[in-house]
């Protein structure tokens, strides 16, 4: 029983990693006042760029670099539409998701001739798991051994990075001058403008951070969690991240726990396939799968707590002139 739990938690960490990265990406965007439905597209684009570059150059790190470049480029397109041209944030996000869904397959087929996939990655082209010191030696120690060697050790570097970014995000958002301005821009851009600070520049910087984090999430999917790019491999993770962002009420640590919760549900759903629960019978996998979405809907409707978005989110800022 204990071992099963550890294995589920272990899987939870792995499934939650891209969610945490993407949700934090969304957090930076939305805290600055930009709604980002395009998380999904950025993850997918980054996953493709990472796998393609890793396949060509044989290095996961170069893959990661290209993933970040691709994702930041997409984030800047979103910024260009929403910040510079006062476009509708949702429409722009939908556009990016659609373009990327088509473009990855189109380019993939032409570059690798494998029906839109990238070649299977091996060796250095993937992020491999890191084994902590003494993990093998401690594996037999009861309770602690299993937690240390199974749950904590043996993940790839991006998993640890994702969890390390959470406190970093807290520090940036709550303790730095940039973070203060970021939050102010999302709540009251006029006040920020009056203080002589460029609203557009802060929002663009937020989008770049958003792009970098989505780049990490995408690279994780194709070069760490899987060994290559598959068509539509982001499979709604961007939207779950969005749900987690709302669920965590736009604050980094609660957002991380929301991602862990949704990841946990995912890991449980896999385990529950065909299992008879005493008194209930077989729980349909789909019922567990939809829980993140149902919970988010309930939260948004104010049935469980209240989610209040940054005040200026989704509204273009037009500087007053004359």
């Amino acid at each position: 029983m204990f071992e099963t739990l550890i294995l589920i938690l272990d899987a939870t960490l792995r499934v939650s990693t891209p969610l945490i990265l993407a949700a934090l990406a969304g957090l930076f965007a939305e805290r600055s006042g930009i709604v980002d439905i395009g998380l999904e597209g950025k993850i997918l684009g980054a996953a493709f760029a990472a796998a393609a570059a890793a396949a060509v150059f044989g290095s996961a790190w170069i893959g990661l670099l290209f993933a970040i470049i691709a994702s930041v480029a997409l984030a800047l397109i979103h910024g260009f539409a929403c910040i510079t041209h006062r476009g509708d944030h949702i429409v722009s996000g939908v556009a990016i998701n659609t373009i990327v869904a088509g473009l990855t397959v189109t380019l993939g087929l032409d570059w690798f001739s494998q029906g839109g996939q990238t070649p299977a990655l091996t060796g250095d082209a993937r992020f491999t798991s890191i084994t902590f010191p003494f993990a093998d030696a401690l594996a037999d120690v009861p309770v602690i051994g299993l937690i240390y060697s199974e749950l904590l050790s043996g993940h790839n570097i991006l998993v640890y990075l994702a969890f390390a970014i959470v406190p970093l995000a807290v520090w940036i958002i709550y303790k730095t001058r940039f973070g203060l301005r970021l939050r102010a821009v999302g709540e009251n851009p006029h006040a920020v403008d009056t203080a002589g600070i460029s609203v557009a520049f802060i929002r663009y910087r937020a989008m770049i951070i958003c792009g970098i984090l989505c780049g990490l999430a995408g690279a994780y999917l194709s070069t760490a969690h899987n060994a290559g790019f598959l068509k539509d491999m982001s499979a709604g993770k961007g939207y779950i991240a969005l749900a987690a962002l709302i669920f965590g009420k736009w604050r980094p640590v609660p957002v991380m726990f929301a991602c862990l919760l949704f990841g946990f549900l995912d890991a449980v759903a896999v385990r529950m396939q065909g299992v008879q629960v005493p008194g209930i019978g077989e729980v349909p996998v789909q019922a567990i799968e939809v829980l993140p979405y149902v919970l988010t809907v309930l939260l948004l409707a104010g049935f469980i707590g209240k989610a209040v978005a940054p005040k200026a989110v989704g509204r273009p800022y037009v500087k007053e002139r004359g």
């Binding site: 189109t106 749900a243 948004l300």
Partner: protein, 365 residues
């Protein structure tokens, strides 16, 4: 202060034209980047979509779905609501159509089943839109986020229902049994053959006519009824609407109901017209494509018909293109679609403001 007027044709024709040309231009660059000739590709595309009767049939068959989802998105847009849940509403609407067919096909004649299926599609689609609409109108949820979540819930629900309840016994794939022929919508080639006109076979069916009827009905509703006036008032200025005594929440709810019902009609075309059984993933992204159609069609039924035919042609021409040039996938159409959403939606002010400024300057001079 009177503002110099921009000629009507600029807004209705020139700006959409510029936007679609920009989208085509970027797509051409993509095709160039993968080492193919964009002009040759465009040739295959146009030939595939309009070059022969079967191709035209397919184009209009795809356009049927796009008219339904395009209308669904645009009536919501008119009221200032972004219904991104067309995909889920179409999925559940199709379930309604399919259940009506499965329930009555062995006992009822064709002319009874058709209205029942229309009601089934509309009711299920509308019901799926009702919950987000209610939550938005009465509990202040964000309709975009809620409808996105409902797309995923719809998808899981359908998998559950198909696998556990509706799957035909003894078959591996999650399909329902095939409907009796009394629940098949007639194909266009059959209907035309009955009045002595012979055309090639294609999946184009009677639901296309229903799509056109819906366009007329929606046009009448939006521009020629008291309800339509309320809807447009809410969409143009929600605060003014409140002062005019309009219940914005109520408008939100019934607009979303109509929007969901329209999306649900995709099931008529796919389930009742072509597949003749319930199955998974028949919506195939048409719900999202409706966003592009509605933006391109400037939220007007005539524009939507034209935009739906344009996108239908892209879908059909795209398959032809992929067949002729194997290094190009049909997904290139998805890229074009996304670019259209980008240029005519997200970047609408980029061209519009400049073009309008050009015309106001010349007319003022």
């Amino acid at each position: 202060m009177s503002q110099p007027k921009v000629p009507v044709w600029v807004n209705l024709a020139l700006i959409p034209f510029i936007n679609i040309m920009l989208a085509f231009l970027v797509s051409a660059l993509v095709i160039l980047a993968i080492g193919e000739n964009p002009i040759e590709a465009a040739g295959y595309l146009v030939y595939g979509a309009f070059g022969y009767e079967e191709g035209i049939g397919y184009t209009l068959y795809y356009a049927t779905n796009l008219i339904f989802t395009g209308l669904a998105v645009s009536i919501a847009f008119k009221a200032g609501i972004f219904n991104i849940g067309g995909e889920g509403q179409a999925y559940i609407g199709g379930l309604g159509v399919g259940l009506a067919c499965l329930a009555f096909d062995q006992t009822m004649p064709f002319y009874v089943i058709v209205p029942l299926a229309i009601i089934g599609g509309a009711a299920f689609g509308a019901a799926w839109a009702y919950i987000p609409a209610y939550l938005s109108a009465r509990r202040g949820s964000h309709v975009v986020i809620t409808t996105i979540m409902f797309n995923f819930i719809a998808s899981s629900l359908m998998v559950y229902l198909m696998v556990n309840w509706l799957k035909q016994e003894g078959r591996m794939s999650p399909n329902s049994r095939t409907f009796e022929e009394s629940a098949w919508l007639p194909y266009m080639h059959e209907m035309l053959a009955a009045i002595g006109i012979n055309i090639e076979q294609s999946p184009l069916n009677a639901s296309f006519l229903w799509a056109l009827i819906c366009c007329v009905l929606i046009w009448g509703l939006i521009w020629h009824t008291r309800w339509g006036y309320q809807l447009r008032t809410v969409g143009t200025n929600a605060t003014a609407a409140i002062y005019a005594g309009i219940d914005n929440g109520k408008v939100t709810i019934w607009v979303m109901l109509i929007s969901g019902a329209l999306a649900g009609f995709v099931g008529l075309n796919e389930i009742m017209g072509v597949q003749h059984s319930l199955l998974l993933n028949f919506t195939a992204g048409f719900g999202f494509a409706g966003i592009a159609v509605s933006l391109m069609g400037r939220n007007h039924p005539v524009g939507i018909i034209l935009a739906a035919i344009l996108f239908g042609a892209l879908y059909q021409g795209g398959s032809e293109l992929a067949f002729e040039i194997p290094s190009i996938t049909p997904e290139i159409v998805v890229v074009i679609q996304g670019l259209v959403i980008l240029f005519s939606g997200a970047l609408e002010h980029m061209c519009k403001d400049r073009v309008e400024a050009f015309f106001t300057r010349t007319s003022a001079a």
